[in-house]
Each structure stands twice: as structure tokens, then as C-alpha cells.
Symmetry: none
Subunit: 401 residues, 2 copies
Amino acid sequence: MDIQDLVRSLHEKSDSKIVLLVADGLGGLPIEPGGPTELEAARTPNLDNLAKTGVLGSTIPIKLGITPGSGPGHLGLFGYDPLKYVIGRGVLEATGIGFHVGPNDVAIRCNFVTLGPDGTIKDRRAGRIPTAESGPLAVKLRQVKLPGVELFVEPVQEHRFCVIFRGDGLGGHVADTDPQKTGVPPLDPVATEPGSQRTAQLAKEFIAQAEKILAGQPKANGITMRGFSTKPALPTYQEVYGLRAAAIAVYPMYKGLARLVGMEIVGQPKSLSEEIDVLQQAWKDYDFFFVHFKYTDSRGEDGNFAEKVKMIEQFDSIVPRVEALKPTVLIVTGDHSTPAALASHSWHPVPVLLSAATCRPDACQAFGETEALRGGLGQFEAIYLMPLALAHAGRLAKFGA
Amino acid sequence: MDIQDLVRSLHEKSDSKIVLLVADGLGGLPIEPGGPTELEAARTPNLDNLAKTGVLGSTIPIKLGITPGSGPGHLGLFGYDPLKYVIGRGVLEATGIGFHVGPNDVAIRCNFVTLGPDGTIKDRRAGRIPTAESGPLAVKLRQVKLPGVELFVEPVQEHRFCVIFRGDGLGGHVADTDPQKTGVPPLDPVATEPGSQRTAQLAKEFIAQAEKILAGQPKANGITMRGFSTKPALPTYQEVYGLRAAAIAVYPMYKGLARLVGMEIVGQPKSLSEEIDVLQQAWKDYDFFFVHFKYTDSRGEDGNFAEKVKMIEQFDSIVPRVEALKPTVLIVTGDHSTPAALASHSWHPVPVLLSAATCRPDACQAFGETEALRGGLGQFEAIYLMPLALAHAGRLAKFGA
């Protein structure tokens, strides 16, 4: 029995409300010896006030030392063991562009490639063909006809696009056709388990027809297919936690990840401020609200310490509007660290703040990584955040008599 | 999927270098109320400087409350779950005397015993016969001839020696012949699974011939056999981490443990200073260096607080020579605690120091057990040390997209 099985057997009804405010890539690093992290450098009076009355800690998104991608990072935050529930690359790519991957779908990441006259790959990314050129080409591939399945071809960016086969009994276990080098032809799509042979045949047919359609293109005259995958069988928030859950996000990727665990996507906010408008409007209709803020991660990925600090300050500024709704439990954290110093996701623990009337307070006076080291929540794996939230929300029965 | 499986799927190439400096039995206890531990009492300016810029924590070698022997302690440090990979007693004994246990070997710990005229055991340790007498007797047992296997008989110490059968298809599942009491005869060697019946027969034959050879000896006129075991199937550092790993140690036991996980044993140092000479010489040829210092444990086992403090100071003094090599990641820790106050290994967490450019610093100002309690690494199981090292060395890809 893992923690999620346990919670599933213990959750009970309540009128309480839980808000999970996620600043993507929140955790950081100093850019000079002895200096503050982005969160410590930012002026965050509202979060600091919450830290004084609430309780701090640090989450390990996956396991110590492991850097999470957005998929596993969010699954962990949502309380789903990211090593048990693996989201395939194709499904994640489709999710990221807002495609609703269904239970009968196989999603595939595709590249346009440049093939030589001998059929070998000259460029695995078709010269990084601009999106303005590749998008219409992807749409043109919708002309492909495959027997007995519905086909979706979706542009992504530059040389990348996405293909979805929709039909009964399609397995997702097909090997990549990208040989990972040039000078050789693309590989054939080969099923790695019997239940995926039809998918492999469909892929082969798709490639053949695609090459006819692309014939004569100067750069994008071939394709490779990778990350064949089906929608993971994730239990829903309703099943596991008994929660009517709402997701409020600007970016398709995070809406998609929330949808995979059965959250409802509410509103179509275009900014953090609009996200909080949506939160206010949806307040009566749900028990749990996941609110996602992207730009802390974006500026971290840019390697821009000062701008990440500004994004954290912007994030801090909306906290009073959330508090005004009087959530029973308010959690503020990130899905992973994205230190500007590394300009990438990292494995470092993520500061977390939990505010509820039932907190046992600690001595923390501000929200930050160093302060969190003496926080009452200690250091723990992110999958335990949801059980903690439910407990503070009065939504978990006693285990055993 | 455990953490080692995960790391195995994520490791990638880099030019970075990792040094794992192990002071055996490093963790300690105060010898007076309110006093310092050995590490805290020692003058360690170099380690304290590293602690200021690096990050501290405490490792749990196995699980809370469990005192590790040298085998499990090192396996954990090396990132191998010591509850999954069990090194048999016979293999550990053979390893400890520098015998290279191979894939076709069964290693057995043996005792000389004193048998009465009725064949019952009078003394289970043959009066703790001195090594000067038992060694030649063990060598004499090399006269035993067994059909179809190669035989090794190796002296160890006092009443202890080691037997290795080398041949195809020998199982290691044979029950001990030591009845654990006197006044009864030794037990027969009995296979506890079908694949080990030939081993049991060979053991029976060995015992019969040995008793003939030993007949008339005043003390050591019989033997018992214990800890039958084969080499554990441990994946190598190259397989799991993609690391070319070197082990630098004075004592055979630690070289042997390192060899079991595929490290290469480099040099033949006789002292800590010579170990660092070897480290310098081997620097270009490996990615990872395990450097083992024995005497912190030895003086702890002696119950000598003051001498353990001196050994820690000696250990501290070589740190600048290691730093001068500019390792990407430098880790300093122990495989377990050996408090002089207990004069034995113990279950207490072990202080660990990790120094790398990618550390998120904590407030720690010196290397010690109490200071480590507020360290940024927190308290964690030792098997996570290697994933952390690889992450800081830029050798782990992101998990998921």
C-alpha cells in the first residue's frame, strides 16, 4: 500500500478549501558566494507574513539528486508517484500544445528531417526549419489516410510536430524511428510488444504517405517518429482524494497535466491577475484549486536572476487576493528548482509554505530556501504534500482505531 | 524502479571528477555530557572551510537504528541498497584478506575447533590458537584433494581461516556446520537448496580429509564451516553510473568491497599520504575516486577518543591536497559511526559534507554532527549520496520532459 492507496482509503467529506499556488521552478541558487537565492533576494512581504504563521519545509520532487521535467514534477506535486506513473513523451508533447489525449489515442512526437537522394538522413532537424514553414507542412500531412483510425497531425515548433492515432486497441510500445545520427536512413517503426503491432504498421504507412506528400521539399522531405505513448491510467483527484479539483493555468502544458489527473480546467486566463479572477469566480464550485504561475521558471531558464526575482515579487503581490478568499489550507511552492545560475531545471529541494489554522508553527520568519531548512515540515518527498493538505483541511480520517 | 535503476537510465557523459573521501567510522558521540563528538573536538580547519562554502547533512547508513558492518556500510555509500545486495559472510571474509572472489567461487569462513575423543566439540575456537600456529595448519589443509574443483585455503587470524571452492555450478546455500555450542559434534554440511548439493558434498569431503590431516593436533584437530556464499551479482559503477571508478585504500577489505562494484584498485599505498599520492597520479585516468581512511574507525573501536580525534586531524590535513586537484564534487563522510564512547560501530547518522560549485549553501560554519543537523542536505539514506554526487557533477539528465 503506497501513500496514495492509504489516502484513498481515508479521505472524507468536508466543506474546506485547499489552494495550491505553484510558482514553476521556484527554488533557486545564489549567483555569488554567500548571496541570496532568487526567492531570498525578492521582496515578498506577503509570503513572509504567511511564513511567520504557517510552516515551512523543502520538498524533494522525485528523489534526491534527480532533476524533474515538468511532467514528473507536477505529478509529484499532485501526489502521484512519478516513478510509478510515467507520462510518455508523445503524450506530454501533445498535452503541451493543448491536445486532449484520449483513452484510445497513441501520441507521437515527430521531427521533419532532410533526406538525401539515397534515403539517408542529412539533417535530423530539417535545418531547424522555421515554424512559419513547418506549420503548414504539418497541416498538409493531414491528407494522409489510414485505415480504421482517426488521424491528427498538429504543428508544434520549428522541425517538431505531433501525430495522434485514435482507434481501438492501439498499443503505445513502438521503438523510435530516429536513428540518433545522420548518414543512415530512418529506422522502421517496430513494435516492442505484440499489442502494438498495429500501431507500428500504421506508423509505417503514415511515414510512406508523408514522404510522398513531402517529396520535393528542400529541407523537410522526410520524418522521424519518437516517444510513441498512450494516456497513462491515472486515478482522478475525485477517486483518490474525494476532491472536486479545478486547475487554473495560462499554459496548455499545465492544463493538460492537470486534466490527466481529472482536474477541471476553469477559465481562460492570460495573466496571473486573471488567474486570480478565475479563482474568485470558481471559488464556490470546487474544493481544490491548482493555480500555476509559469514565469518564475521561464526567467530561471533564461538564466536571468534579476527577472526571476521580479517574477517572484509579482507572484507575491497576488497572495493577499488569495488569502481574502480564506482558504482552509494555502500551499505555496514550486514543482522543481530552476536556478538562474544554472539556466535549467535542477535537483535542488524546493521551498514549500503551508498555511492553515492547524499548523504547528516553527521559528521561520520569511519564505526562503535557507529559512526552510529549519522549517517544521522538514525535507520530504513532494508526493506527501497532498496528504498534508488533506489532513490540514480536515479531509482525512484516522488510520486504524 | 528504485533509485539505482533511475540513475542507470539517466546518467550521461561529462569531464567532471568526483572524489569520495571516506573516514571509516567518522561519526561519534561525546564522552561527557554536553561535550563535543570526536569530529567536533578535532581541529579541522580545512574541513570547516569546506563546510562554509559547501553543504552539510547526515546520512543514515542502512535504516534508522541499524548498525552496519563494513560490507553494508560501504555498499550503501556506493549507492547499492544494502538490503537488496547482501554480501555473504564467506565472501566478506575472503575479501577482507585480499582474496579475489570470482564468479565460480564459493567462499566459506572456517574455524579450527577442538574435538574430544567422542567427536564432540570441546572448544569452538580451538583455545584461540595463536595465528603463528594456525596459519601453517591452514596451509597444510591445502593438501586436501577434491574432485573437479580448485581449492584455496587461506589463513586469517587465530582460529579463523577461509576456504574457497572454485568450479562450475557450485551453489552457496549450505547451512553452517557450527552447532553454536560445545558437547555436541559439528553438524553435517546440508544444502538448503538443490543447486547447492554438490557444494555440501564437497564440504563434507573437505571436512573428512581435514580431520585426517589435523589428527593428533592438541588444540586444532577439527573444523567448522560457516557463511557459505558466492560473489553477489552487483552491477558495476560503469553500468550504473557510467563512471570509470578508482579505489584507493590501504586495507584489503575496502579494496575488495570496491572491486565487487567494479572499481579499479589503483596503487599500493601504505598510508593516507601515499593514498593522496596515488590520487594525484591516477587523476587523469578516472572519473570517480573512492579514498578510504581506516584509522578513525580503528581508534573508535579501541574506545580511544583522543586518538580518534588525532586521526580526524590527520585526515583533515590532507584535504588541501585533494582540493588542489579541483574535483568538481568533493564529498567527505564515513560509512557509519564508530563512537569511542561505545568502542564499536553504531547506528548513529554520519555527518556528510558535499562541496561543489552547484551547492545551495546552508548556514553551517564547521564540519560536525551538531552543525550537520541544520545542513542543507538534511538527513537522508546513504544510497542517495551517489545520485547527489552525479547531479552536482553534471552527469544526470533530466527525468521526463
